[in-house]
């Protein structure tokens, strides 16, 4: 038999899983997943973001999604981050480790990790 506390625990566990279907997130992490991106290692980057968001229990406010080729294939994997109405930030040559760092500093902390952005790569 479940108690009220059990019910709340199930709710918290499931909330993140069901929240993905609401699509009302104010933060979007978009990973370029065209052939070039996948070849350069975009899949582990995508998964790293998904894991980080889940671990932080932020699935109802952060959406991780894919997109096609952004056009700068030589800098893949490319990740674009949209927070609220702020201008988008484009990160390039991403790795799972960099992904964790971007998540911690930019998504959670609000500070853009300038050294990984397209501006500094150029």
């Amino acid at each position: 038999m479940k108690t009220l506390a059990d019910l709340a625990a199930i709710r918290d566990k499931m909330k993140g899983k069901v929240a993905i279907r609401e699509g009302s997130s104010d933060t979007r992490i978009v990973v370029g997943m065209a052939t070039c991106g996948i070849a350069a290692g975009a899949r582990p980057v995508l998964n790293a973001f998904v894991e980080a968001v889940n671990d932080a229990a932020m699935t109802d406010s952060v959406m991780v999604t894919q997109t096609g080729c952004i056009g700068i294939c030589r800098l893949e994997p490319v990740v674009e981050v949209y927070v609220g109405n702020e201008p988008k930030v484009t990160y390039v040559k991403m790795t799972p480790e960099k992904a964790k760092e971007v998540f911690a500093k930019h998504i959670k902390g609000g500070a853009v990790v300038t050294e990984y952005t397209v501006g500094s790569a150029e």
Binding site: M1, I10, R11, K13, V18, S25, I38, T65, Q66, T67
Partner: protein, 595 residues
């Protein structure tokens, strides 16, 4: 770690267009692409846009794919799920704007909808109780059992203004109050899921898409009126709904959300399932209760009302599925939240099954007070093939029609009654200029004649006599006096029948007489059916000047009624003609006309 959810509709509509095969193909393809751990496939209830099924939604993007086939699955996986490139050719075209994909909630079909009763349909997997709990399921029950007294629950419902969604529109809180005020050793909570109006499937969708909402609401009802047992009476023709209800009841018992000591509070409640054999009269509350008792489903006179003397002679509340589906939301969000939607006397939202001559056939939930025009033109996408809207029929065989001149009427209980229709359970059938209103009245009357249980004479005999008069008119043998006879008989049946079935059966006749009397007169005086529907009043003719003598029509005619030699004008023998219209469809020169 799961990064994407693929929702596939498992409602009755999409199941019959092979959504289970699509789900299997998707699961196979995900394994083949090594994505089984990253993408989760979820079978849900109805999304509402049944005309476009089978339907699939991919989250987090919220991409809405329609009319998906098994052969499309490899492309959806390799393009969308692997590379993030949306398969545009399968995207519901309303969500494609300037070549980019917009959210489903911004499309005409969903924009004006407000989903309360249907909130979980098409969102959660109805066979997994945890998904329901994840969308605040059973939180209302917890709140009721630990923080509220039974009278508080009833007061909340009274304040919310919720009225019965099954047809009559009786205030739910008052119904519960009557039952709560009775002193008895046992009371019952009953759910009327015997949805029987032709073309209506609101309740089916809730049962299939969100069965736990019903169980939760019935348990709350048990607490409020002091009952420990509930019955759901559902039609056996809803096999998917019955299966999901069984699964849901089983899961709730396992979690201790039904049973002897619910959530450890000591409150006891359990729910039984009863299958109806498909008699329309069993949707009438007293007949339904009689049927649950194991007797022939026939109504009995009221009073005593079920709240005083119902199932097995004990105080009973009986509510419709959609009514129950609103209740956990009212408890969670408060009476004021619910009362803020709708009109002065009709609060909240109403689900309608849109059907007939309309682009977006399906299920819609709108705030009360939305106009018929908004429903037909914006949500429904208008009448197809450039035809003109003629009328909408609400309330099924108990209701009436709303003519085009009243299309701006805000839909609520009282407005519909005032114009001679009724809310009913929520069937909304759209008719265009090709529909004959006398024929429509006949259609609904044939239904009630079939479904009359035969217990009382006004209904058993009266409806048959009404139908005979209508047949006389559509056969071209009517007299003007028949219109008065129709009206007189309608009023007798209305006032003298035992139950709601008979009392409302004449409504389709009365309302078409009220708004489309000219069509009746055309049938009687001119012996013409203006819409060209009533076969006895229609004749086909070949215009000699236009006929090239190609013989195509003569070869297609199933009864050999067309004669003529090659390259000479043909002639139709009207005594043989069965008026099937095949000749007219076949003719390439528009030489055949219907009169």
């Amino acid at each position: 770690m799961v990064r994407s959810h693929v929702l596939i509709c498992g409602g009755t509509g999409c199941t019959s267009s092979h959504s289970p095969e699509i789900r299997e193909a998707m699961e196979r393809e995900l394994i083949a692409n090594g994505l089984a751990d990253e993408v989760k496939v979820v079978q849900t209830g109805c999304f509402g846009l049944c005309a476009l099924g089978p339907i699939m939604i991919v989250y987090p993007e919220g991409t809405f794919y329609s009319k998906v086939e098994v052969s499309d699955i490899p492309e959806i996986v390799s393009e969308h799920l692997v590379k993030g490139r949306i398969v545009k050719r399968l995207v519901y075209n309303e969500t494609l704007k300037d070549d980019s994909v917009i959210s489903l909630s911004e499309t005409g079909f969903y924009k004006k909808q407000k989903r309360v009763a249907l909130r979980n349909c098409g969102v959660i997997n109805p066979e997994v109780i945890d998904e329901y709990i994840g969308t605040r399921g059973y939180e209302a029950l917890g709140k009721v059992l630990t923080e509220m007294k039974p009278q508080d629950v009833i007061n909340t419902l009274l304040e919310s203004g919720l009225r019965g969604r099954g047809g009559g529109g009786f205030p739910t809180g008052r119904k519960w109050q009557f039952a709560a005020d009775q002193v008895a050793d046992q009371k019952y909570v009953v759910c009327n899921a015997d949805e029987g109006d032709p073309g209506a499937f609101m309740d089916r969708s809730i049962l299939e898409g969100d069965p736990h909402a019903l169980l939760e609401a019935m348990t709350i009802a048990g607490y409020a009126i002091g009952a420990t047992e509930g019955y759901i009476y559902v039609r056996a023709e809803y096999p998917i709904a019955v299966d999901r209800l069984k699964i849901a009841i089983e899961q709730s018992r396992e979690y201790g959300l039904l049973g002897d000591n619910i959530l450890g509070t000591g409150f006891k409640f359990d729910i039984n399932l009863r299958l109806g054999a498909g008699a329309f009269v069993c949707g009438e509350e007293t007949a339904l209760l009689t049927s649950i008792e194991g007797k022939r489903g026939e109504p009995r006179p009221r009073p005593p009302f079920p709240a005083v003397k119902g199932l097995f002679g004990k105080p009973t509340i009986i509510n419709n599925v959609e009514t129950y589906a609103n209740i956990p939301q009212i408890i969670l969000n408060g009476a004021d939240w619910f009362a803020s939607m709708g009109t002065e006397k009709s609060k909240g939202t109403k689900v309608f099954a849109l059907g007939g001559k309309i682009q977006n056939t399906g299920l819609v939930e709108i705030p009360m007070g939305t106009t018929l025009r908004e429903v037909v033109e914006e949500i429904g996408g208008g009448v197809p093939n450039g035809k003109k809207f003629k009328a909408a029929q609400t309330g099924g065989p108990s209701g009436g029609c709303i003519p085009a001149s009243l299309i701006d009427t805000p839909i609520d209980y009282d407005n519909l009654l005032a114009i001679g229709s009724m809310m009913g359970s929520g069937g909304l059938i759209v008719m265009d200029e090709d529909n004959c209103m006398v024929d429509i009245a006949k259609f609904f009357l044939e239904f009630t004649v079939d479904e009359s249980c035969g217990k009382c004479t006004p209904c058993r005999v009266g409806t048959v006599r009404l139908l005979e008069l209508l047949n006389k008119i559509t056969d071209g043998k009517g007299e003007m006096e028949d219109l008065d006879r129709l009206e007189e008989l309608c009023n007798y049946i209305k006032s003298a029948s035992l139950c709601g079935l008979g009392q409302t059966a004449p409504n389709p006749v009365l309302s078409t007489l009220r708004y489309f009397r000219d069509e009746y007169i055309a049938h009687i005086k001119d012996k013409k059916c203006p819409a060209g529907v009533c076969k006895k009043l229609v004749s086909f003719e070949i215009i000699a000047d236009k006929c090239k003598g190609c013989t195509a029509c003569a070869r297609k005619c199933p009864v050999g009624a067309i004669s003529g030699s090659v390259k000479n004008p043909h002639v139709i023998d009207t005594s043989k003609c069965v008026k099937c219209g095949v000749c007219m469809d076949t003719c390439k020169f528009n030489a055949i006309i219907k009169k």
